[in-house]
Structures are given as structure tokens and as C-alpha cells.
């Protein structure tokens, strides 16, 4: 029998990688303030890694987490302490820290076996608070909430000391995480996760061990949050508990909601979009507004965020990735009117 099997089309990966490499050069080419833009992109990259992890947990497996800032903080502080105080090389911390964070994920995952929905949201939110208190309590290592200075990343003798170098470090991981996460989600594991989300019964009947796979989802998600934390601590070079509050956890949820729940590309699009909006577009919009009206526009940030989330949930529940899919189908079907397909 001739194979009807259609493998994922990967021919776009090479151009995309080239684009990722080209972006800093392009930015430097057109503006003097490239370090500012790179800094924002670096944040977007770090959040992308975390959002992919959150999407695996909340988007694919349907286990909501309002405590991801906690995993992020644990990753960041663990690496800062391991590297700067225990003298472990950064490269090793890149491996150890996510695993440690992953175990925290397992610990948080246990209650998730019993509770779901709103209650799980509250449980994980509680974890976020506990993680913060824990960091403050372990003052001997973390300097409490005063914040911790962190060393630069050093890999194979090369020190990443600028936003420029950090960009390449971070985005190497972003590309790797996206490729690996897509592969994993497009296999037995991803199918089991989605089955748990949509029908625990069907999953069990198909042989999915709910306990094991829910914990696995928590573990994977926390590992990625931990990885993001390591990169964050060493590229931002200063961490403080002020970073990791409940608002950050909600910020991550907005990212995957806007990007499109249950898709890796959605998480990428969502986090990049939200960070650019938050750091570049809204401030620019504020400056622009200030030219015309003398009203106080300071709180416009939360207003715009709320509005965007509202509009996406109402009109575009599949998120930015859904928009992209529709556009693609539209062009494929052109000149036939594809409108009816998306009601």
C-alpha cells in the first residue's frame, strides 16, 4: 500500500532560524537603540520558553496554573545560588536547575490529581505565594526580598555580557524548546495530554495513566519555567521578589490565551505579542496620546490588556495562531469564498 502518511512540513524551519539570526542585525541596522529593542526581545524570548511550558500544562492538559511565576522564581533563584554561591558552572546549572524546578512541579502536581478547574487555579496560586515567601525566608542565600545580583552566563569559556550576546543565547533555547516541544506534543505524550483535557474517561480507556501523565505535564511545565528562570536570572543579572508576583502569573495566562490555547506556535506568538505590546506599543501609544490630550493615561496598560483579552476570548478563541491558520486556508482556497467555513 502506498503511504498516505504526511509528515509535518519542516521546510520553513531553516528560513525561520535565519530570520531569528537576522533580526538583531536588522535592528542594529535601522536604529541606534538596538540594545533597548534586544533587551525587550530577550524578555520576550524568556517568556516564550515559559509560555510554551504553561501551554503544555494549561493548554494541552487543561490543568490551569496561576502559580507559574513561582516556578519561574524558583528557577531563577536556584540558579543564582548554585552558580554564585555554590560555584557550579552556568552550563551545569542549565541542566540541574530545571530538574530541581521540575520536582517542585511534581510536588504541586500532587494536589492537582484531586482538584481541578477553579480549585486547581487557587491551589497553584497559593503555590506562587508560598514560593515567594520561601525565597524571602531563605534570606541566608537569597538576601530576602532585597534582590540578588547574579553573574553573567558563561558557556565554554565565553561570557555573555551584553544584550547582543544574550539574544543569541536565549533564542538558541527558544528555537530548541519550540522544536522539541512540538515533537513531544505531536506524539503519544501530547495525545495523552489532550485526551486528559477533553475526556479523562476516554484517556483512561485508551490506557493513559492519569496520575502519571498529569504529573508529567506538571514536571515538563516546571522544567521549562525553570529553564526560563535560569536564563532570566543570568541575563537580567538582578532578580528580586518584586518580579515574581501574582500579576506575572496572570500575564503568562494572558499570553497563552491571546496566542491560542493548546498550540506551541500560539504560545510563541502570544508571548512575543504581549511583551512587544507591553514594552513597546503601549508606551509608544501613551506618548502619542500625550501629544493630543492632556489627560492622565497612566493606567491605560491594564485597560488595553483587559480589552485585548476580552476581544480574543469573544471573537477569536483560537488566538493569534487561529488567525494565522485561517489566513493560510483563505489563501489556499482563494478565489472560492471560504467565509462559510469559519462560523
Amino acid at each position: 500500500m502506498k503511504s498516505r502518511y504526511a509528515d509535518e512540513n519542516l521546510s520553513w524551519i531553516a528560513p525561520l532560524v535565519l530570520l531569528v539570526i537576522a533580526i538583531p542585525f536588522l535592528i542594529r541596522g535601522v536604529t541606534f537603540s538596538y540594545r533597548y529593542y534586544l533587551y525587550v526581545l530577550n524578555i520576550a524570548g524568556i517568556y516564550t520558553i515559559l509560555a510554551v511550558g504553561l501551554d503544555i500544562l494549561s493548554g494541552y492538559t487543561g490543568l490551569i496554573s496561576l502559580g507559574h511565576a513561582g516556578f519561574f522564581a524558583i528557577g531563577a533563584y536556584t540558579s543564582a545560588v548554585l552558580v554564585d554561591q555554590a560555584g557550579i558552572p552556568f552550563g551545569l546549572s542549565l541542566i540541574i536547575t530545571p530538574i530541581i524546578t521540575g520536582f517542585f512541579g511534581l510536588v504541586v502536581g500532587f494536589p492537582a490529581l484531586r482538584v481541578s478547574g477553579m480549585y486547581l487555579g487557587l491551589t497553584t496560586m497559593g503555590f506562587g505565594f508560598i514560593a515567594r515567601r520561601l525565597i524571602i525566608a531563605l534570606r541566608a542565600w537569597t538576601e530576602g526580598s532585597a534582590g540578588l545580583e547574579v553573574s553573567n552566563p558563561v558557556l565554554f569559556g565565553f561570557e555573555f555580557a551584553s544584550d547582543w550576546a544574550n539574544y543569541f543565547l536565549i533564542f538558541t533555547f527558544v528555537v530548541a524548546v519550540v522544536v522539541v516541544a512540538r515533537r513531544v506534543m505531536n506524539s503519544k505524550i501530547g495525545r495523552a495530554f489532550m485526551a486528559i483535557r477533553d475526556s479523562e474517561r476516554a484517556a483512561e480507556a485508551a490506557g493513559v495513566n492519569l496520575t502519571r501523565y498529569k504529573l508529567l505535564a506538571f514536571f515538563m511545565s516546571a522544567v521549562l519555567a525553570g529553564l526560563a528562570g535560569v536564563l532570566f536570572a543570568h541575563t537580567m543579572r538582578f532578580i528580586s521578589t518584586d518580579h515574581f508576583d501574582i500579576l506575572l502569573s496572570i500575564y503568562f495566562i494572558i499570553m497563552i490565551l491571546v496566542g491560542g490555547v493548546g498550540s506551541i506556535y500560539g504560545a510563541v506568538l502570544g508571548s512575543v505579542f504581549i511583551v512587544l505590546l507591553d514594552f513597546l506599543l503601549i508606551p509608544a501609544f501613551k506618548d502619542w496620546m500625550a501629544l493630543f490630550v492632556a489627560i492622565e493615561v497612566a493606567d491605560i496598560q491594564s485597560l488595553i490588556f483587559g480589552l485585548i483579552m476580552f476581544l480574543f476570548i469573544i471573537f477569536q478563541p483560537m488566538g493569534l495562531y487561529g488567525v494565522w491558520l485561517k489566513m493560510r486556508i483563505y489563501w489556499k482556497l482563494f478565489p472560492f469564498n471560504p467565509k462559510k467555513r469559519f462560523t
Binding site: M1, S187, K188, A202, E204
Partner: protein, 253 residues
């Protein structure tokens, strides 16, 4: 002999008796139907077999294995799979992936890792699915997303998912519910083929009496958790209690 033996099954849900001492034997290679009005305990029996409901009393053995000692996700390893009365699918996965889900326990971890790396592995995993889809007349549906497909297709995808792991016994819960006549005939044909061509024992719960009577080797009639009668379709049709209780006066004709 992998027969399914059910002995003296008692199930209560907070005082309501769902099954009251039910015993039966489903023999290898037969199509066995459970009929009865709503709330007679048919689906509860299914749930006991697939491990979702733990009975208060009784045993369920399959080929010498005590099924009640197994967690729900291990039932499929014993060679028993099932479909659900209400659709239990994953809408935002392709039909291919939905069916592949049924193969979950057949794919080991090493194969999963190989799958990430090698196209061959992905292809061979999918071959099994394509065979089942072809068997069910769903050829060329594999890349479509389940969401938005007609009900009949979604129902067939459930059947495909339960078949892909090559079970020895499949439990099919109300296959014809919500289907039109033509689709029901199609389902009848498929159920017969599952047994004849694939050699799988079939246990069916169904309301549609004409479907049950036309395909079953044996029929069991349940009422309020008790067995009214067990026998081949003709015997059951003639049974006075059955006639009065469920089929109504003119049903025999």
C-alpha cells in the same frame, strides 16, 4: 479461553441499586447485546468492566485475569477496549491522532523517542490507523480535524479508536444512538465485520431493537439491575416478560 465472566455483580449509587446480582458469561467470538430501558444498569455494567466503577460485590474475570483488581488504564492491556455513549473525543486533534490515542498502550517509550527522530517510526505508527480507517470506510479522513465533522463520523472515530489497539473484546455503547436508518444499517454491518473479519468479540449496549435482533448471537435483557432473560434473539423475542415490559404488544410482529 478468554471468556468474560461476570459473577454476582452488585452496584449501588448512594442507595439506588444499579446492578443487583448480575451474572453472565460472554463467550469468545460472539456478538452479545445488552438491552433494557434507561437506568436498567447496562452502562454501569460497562463501567464495571472498564474499571470506572468498582462494584460492592462480585467478580469480573477475563481469561483468568481479575479485572476488578486493575486500574482503568490497565484494562486495555488485557485486550478490552470500549466506546462511549456520549462522544468522548478530542475535537482539536486530527482524526488520525484521535485514533492513534487508542494505540497509547501499544506504543512504548522507546518507540516514542524514536518517533521524535525518525520518519519511519511515525509512518509505521500511522499505518495501523490507516488500516482501521479504511476498514471503517473513513479513508482520506485522517488529516481532518475532528471538530466540525458530522456526528456519524465522530461516532465511527470512536469505534476506530477502540479497534486500533487490536483488542480481543470491544465494548460498544449505543452505536446507533442519534443515527438515521441508513447509518444504523452501516453500523450493523460494521459490527458484524468487526467480529467476522477481525475476530473480535463484541459486547453491545443498544436501544434499537431491530439492530440488536439482526446482529446479536445472544441478547441479555436487564431491568432495574436484574437480568430478565438471556438467550438468542428469537428466544428473547418470545419471552413473555420481555414482550410485556419493553417491546410492547405489537413489537413481535
Amino acid at each position: 479461553m478468554p471468556d468474560l465472566q461476570i459473577e454476582d455483580l452488585h452496584v449501588r449509587f448512594s442507595g439506588v441499586v444499579a446492578l443487583n446480582g448480575v451474572s453472565m458469561e460472554i463467550r469468545e467470538g460472539e456478538i452479545f447485546s445488552l438491552v433494557g430501558p434507561n437506568g436498567s444498569g447496562k452502562t454501569t455494567l460497562f463501567n464495571c468492566v472498564s474499571g470506572f466503577v468498582k462494584p460492592h460485590h462480585g467478580t469480573i474475570c477475563y481469561g483468568g485475569l481479575d479485572l476488578l483488581s486493575q486500574p482503568p488504564h490497565r484494562i486495555i492491556d488485557a485486550g478490552i477496549s470500549r466506546t462511549f455513549q456520549n462522544l468522548q473525543n478530542v475535537p482539536y486533534m486530527t482524526i488520525l491522532d484521535n485514533v492513534l490515542l487508542g494505540n497509547h498502550s501499544r506504543i512504548d517509550n522507546w518507540e516514542t523517542v524514536r518517533r521524535w527522530l525518525s520518519r519511519d517510526q511515525r509512518e509505521s505508527e500511522e499505518q495501523a490507523v490507516l488500516k482501521v480507517l479504511d476498514f471503517l470506510g473513513l479513508a482520506n479522513y485522517e488529516q481532518k480535524y475532528l471538530s466540525g465533522q458530522p456526528y456519524g463520523i465522530q461516532k465511527l472515530v470512536e469505534v476506530a479508536r477502540s479497534l486500533v489497539s487490536r483488542p480481543k473484546l470491544v465494548l460498544i455503547d449505543e452505536p446507533a444512538a442519534g443515527m438515521n436508518d441508513q447509518e444504523t444499517m452501516e453500523i450493523a454491518k460494521i459490527i458484524t465485520e468487526i467480529r467476522d473479519d477481525l475476530g473480535i468479540t463484541v459486547l453491545v449496549v443498544e436501544h434499537d431493537m431491530s439492530l440488536v435482533m439482526s446482529i446479536s448471537d445472544r441478547v441479555c435483557v436487564l431491568d432495574s439491575g436484574n437480568i430478565v432473560t438471556v438467550g438468542n434473539p428469537d428466544e428473547v423475542k418470545e419471552h413473555p416478560d420481555v414482550i410485556s415490559a419493553f417491546l410492547g404488544e405489537g413489537a413481535v410482529a
